[in-house]
Amino acid sequence: MKVSSIQLLVAVWVGLLVLLALTTGSAYVPLGIGNTLINLAIATFKVALIAVAFMHLNRSDAVVRLAAGAAILFLSFLAFLSFGDFLTRPREPAPWTVPQEGAAGGGPYEPSGEAVR
């Protein structure tokens, strides 16, 4: 039963902490959309590191790797196609309040733009 060495595990751990510092540091540098992309990229890389090193995906056979990737693939279907709707939809918010009592936690929803097209 192959077992990963202590040095590898500790090295991966250190790598993860460095990436954490990188994420947090980069958040304070004003890069606009870049911040989000960098954060997500680093997070993906950290999860990949955990999956391969700690969860020994490199030693598991193809089916297990497929199972590991399946959920990410199917969630991306959900994200891309539903955002395909949100991004291409004309936004016409209308004033709306819960008729009986004011919605808890703050006043009624306010239209953010010209209400009527």
């Binding site: 918010p93 209308a94 008729p99 004011g102 006043g107 009624p108 306010e110 097209r117």
Partner: protein, 311 residues
């Protein structure tokens, strides 16, 4: 329930006829495939029944060209139907410029319709024949759906958002209007009627209705009826902020911050005046929560907008 209202087999709107043509074509294609499959199954079952001596030499279990054709043919037919249907569908989303605009407010279990000149109807909609009509719709509570089978149109009406729908009636008559999205107890009774009239008759009907001032005029009437004018008119004795030219102007609040007087600010100041008091004024204004419903608020805001320009 809706006696005398038709759901005709022949569409009564321009888009409806194009949809009917596509529907009949689909019926033909799918009908042919269904009959073909049924005939094959019937024929094979009889011809190759166990007791028959039919020739069963080298039964095929894979015939490449057959499999390729019955994969490619449906693909081509489907793509054709997809393109045709998408072309028709995109017309649903391109209302003509000169369409007659009508506001529809759906609420649990009735349709409130309001024409641009303020003429209001409940559960009925009068439209001229031959002229495009565009409905701007929103819901006051749950999701409803404006469905007129005669025009082959349907559009969900969502709370918190405007959705729109357009049609051009091709013949006059009385057509059924249904709510097609389940909306609670009386979802089945939330129907109504679309009355399509010749244009002259429609113009007369539109004008003759009970004198219904425009949105802003109605706002002014509410502005006086609930007593806003009592305090906010310049002539009043009460020390209250002037509302002339308010819409869009920055307002200095008592807590030092500044807010642009948009619709939200006006709505909040009417429903919860204590939250944001204008600098230099006492928080004496009473709340109108519960006295004014959705339409009144829209009308009041329209009125204040109309006074945005100094008189």
């Amino acid at each position: 329930m809706s006696a005398g209202l038709e759901t005709p087999l022949q569409a009564a709107s321009t888009l409806g006829t194009t949809v009917d043509v596509l529907f009949l074509t689909m019926l033909g294609v799918t009908g042919a495939v269904a009959i073909a499959v049924a005939v094959c199954i019937g024929y094979f079952t009889i011809r190759y029944r166990r007791s028959s001596g039919a020739d069963r030499s080298n039964p095929p279990s894979r015939v490449r060209w057959v499999e390729v054709t019955w994969t490619a043919t449906p693909l081509i037919i489907f793509l054709g139907i997809f393109l045709w249907s998408s072309a028709v569908f995109s017309q649903f989303y391109r209302p003509p410029r000169d369409a007659l605009r009508v506001h529809v407010l759906a609420k649990q279990w009735m349709w409130k319709v309001e024409h641009d000149n303020g003429r209001r109807e409940i559960d009925t909609l009068h439209v001229p024949v031959g002229r495009p009509v565009e409905l701007i719709m929103t819901s006051q509570d749950v999701i409803h759906s404006f469905f007129v089978p005669a025009f082959r149109i349907k559009q969900d009406v969502l709370p918190g958002r405007y959705t729109s729908l357009w049609f051009t009636a091709t013949r006059s008559g009385h057509f059924s209007l249904f709510c097609a999205e389940y909306c609670g107890t009386s979802h089945a009774n939330m129907g109504g009627g679309i009355t399509v009239m010749p244009q002259a008759e429609f113009a007369k009907w539109l004008a003759s209705g009970p004198e219904q001032a425009g949105l802003a005029a109605r706002g002014f009437e509410i502005y006086r009826r609930v007593g806003c004018s009592g305090c906010h008119e310049p002539t009043s004795t009460v020390h209250a902020p002037g509302l002339t030219g308010l819409y869009g102007r920055p307002v200095h609040l008592s807590d030092g911050s500044t807010v642009v007087a948009d619709e939200t600010y006006i709505r909040d100041s009417i429903l919860q005046p204590q939250k944001q008091v204008v600098a230099g004024f006492a928080p004496v204004m009473p709340s109108f929560q519960g006295q004014l419903d959705e339409d009144d608020l829209i009308a009041l805001i329209a009125f204040l907008k109309s006074r945005a320009r100094p008189p």
